[in-house]
Amino acid sequence: MMHIKHEAEERHVLTVTVDNEAGILAKIAGLFTARGYNIDSLTVADITENHAVSRITIVTHGPPSQIDQIHAQLERLVPVHKVVDLTEVGPFVQRELALVKVSGTGEKRVEALRVADVFRAKTVDTTTSSFVFELTGAPDKIDSFVAIMRELGLVEVGRTGVVGMIRGAEEA
């Protein structure tokens, strides 16, 4: 009898600089799905004055060999200028932004505000029974914030997904 063995998977953060043209996002996403791997988060925005070039940050997990293959396949796409596997290249910063809606009254409401202050979240909307907090940080910081808010009346969460950049003076 045979069972499927799952290879050990790693989390990787990739940045991809691409020509801002129709269909490129689908092509990139297709490289992952064709291998049966999921994209954990994806952010895209154009980064040049003339809107011609976009920077995409992809968080994925999979066996290192697959990620290396995806890296190589990404570089083969004609509109792709550069691919950097931040996880491979060295220490990097990663940040994401979250909007977190909490509703409640009395002690829970006070506690929510107190925790938000500890996490240096900003209150961007409020009613007498709710808050929307804005929080930026590394993904695990947001994870812990959301976990606490779950006990204090969490209504919904929106996260942008990670953008990342290599530390130090050099361009990656």
């Binding site: 009898m1 045979m2 069972h3 499927i4 290879e7 297709g30 799905t33 064709a34 291998r35 049966g36 697959q66 293959q69 995806i70 396949q73």
Partner: protein, 580 residues
Amino acid sequence: MSEERSGANILVESLIRQGVEFVFGYPGGAVLPIYDALFGEERIRHILVRHEAGAAHAAEGYARSTGKPGVVLVTSGPGATNAVTGIADAFMDSIPLVVITGQVPTGLIGSDAFQEADTVGISRHCTKHNYLVKDPADLAGVIDEAFEIATTGRPGPVLIDIPKDVQIATAAWNDAPVQRRQRYAPRTRGATEEIEQAVAMIAAAKAPILYTGGGVINSGPRATALLRDLQTKTGAPVTSTLMGLGAFPADHGDWLGMLGMHGTYEANMAMNQADLIVCVGARFDDRVTGRLDAFAPNSKKIHIDIDRSSINKTVRVDLPIIGDCAQVMEQILDAWGSRKPQDLTAWKARVDTWREKKSLSFPANAKAIMPQLAIQRLFELTKDKDPIITTEVGQHQMWAAQHFHFFGPNKWLTSGGLGTMGYGLPAAIGAQCGNPDSLVIDIAGDASIQMNIQEMGTATQYRLPVKIFILNNEWMGMVRQWQELTYESRYSNSYSDSLPDFVRLAEAYGWKGIRIASESELDAGIQEMIDYQGPVIVDCRVHNEANCFPMIPSGAAHTEMLLYGDAVAGTMDDEAKALV
């Protein structure tokens, strides 16, 4: 009781659980474990085709003629890519298929392994949904959901890609029904206020028309019956798209015939002049609307469709009702009660003046068989047998739609949306499997039939008595017609050179071959075909340069139909040429 079973075994058991009778397929390296599980399996019949496109079209023919989902089994790489045309065809015409493709083992996916293709990627745009199953424990749930998605809502093809190691690896299997998350729930009922508004609009209409499509067929026989009730209650004349033929009986006094590019004069004029169009399960396709800004300019429109994305896609409608055709028509009928429609005498009198154009008439020819006549005779001589008709794509298809007449659903199987030459023969094979006692005829052209002619071997192997009736004019007739009408008769590559001798070809496959060369042989040849117990090719030599009329040229309005005998310009401006 729970036990460990291989993925291949779980697949086969799951198909049986879904009530699958036939699997249309072709083996290969990446599906060998599944074929081994099928070996000696008597609860499922595997039909071995000769090319994977044939498997998908045969499954379509089975599905369209029985109302049950068709199942396809092909190997990875070329097996899957060959099947893509049939999958795309099913997607365009909303036909329920479940397509099982083998895939290279999980560890090799993405490595350009032998016979590897990104099947999930390739099929993304031509399936309703697709899966890559990476663990046999997921198989039972995936298959169960695949059948639900394929057959409910707007039907369509669903593909399941199964790597070879997942077919061999084991997982727990038990006889209890599959536990899975319910995440697909298409809306089937119209909202009460929409139904009330529809009833008010229909009751107020002085020139209403029912414009029906394949959705009525897909919705099942109940929809066909309800359409007849709705017509009886409202008195509205009925036209249908190519896909919807058979939903309304062609011998009914209020039947207008098919509409659109090769539709009847009365159907297109009635659409143009109606004050209310009730669209039931059709989608305002470009073959139907002609020039959009001139389409039915003075009408209100009600659009009943189960697919939200069909609404307002090309034509803006006044009242969309999202729901299942049968369900919504039933709601309308309930709300209609004992109401009386407006007096439609004047409207029907106008319709009758359009009928007098006799737009389907064609000139007699002393020398050659007119293809329209051949279809008329085929219809007259077979109609008592309630045959199932499939077609290929081109002139013969349109002539069949015009001159063969249908009285019930699931009898007319044709590739409408994708327009796939090579559809008809495998579809006839699938239909014959599902309807062993029916007379199944593929009305074909000399060019189209060659696109999947290898499937003759399949019919021979399974003793399927399908008939192929070829209107042989030695041209890709529709291409030739367009070249005549829009490219000043520059017949670029549309001549069917080097045709095989179809009679001898039939004999080579163990079929009967019949040639009909003159009108005097027509009835006897057709009768001989009907009477023969096995498969037959009829090579019916017809007038080489007959054109298919009526015709709304590209970019023209419904009121600008060309009829036989109209002077036809030999060219067209570039904007019109650029249209599909």
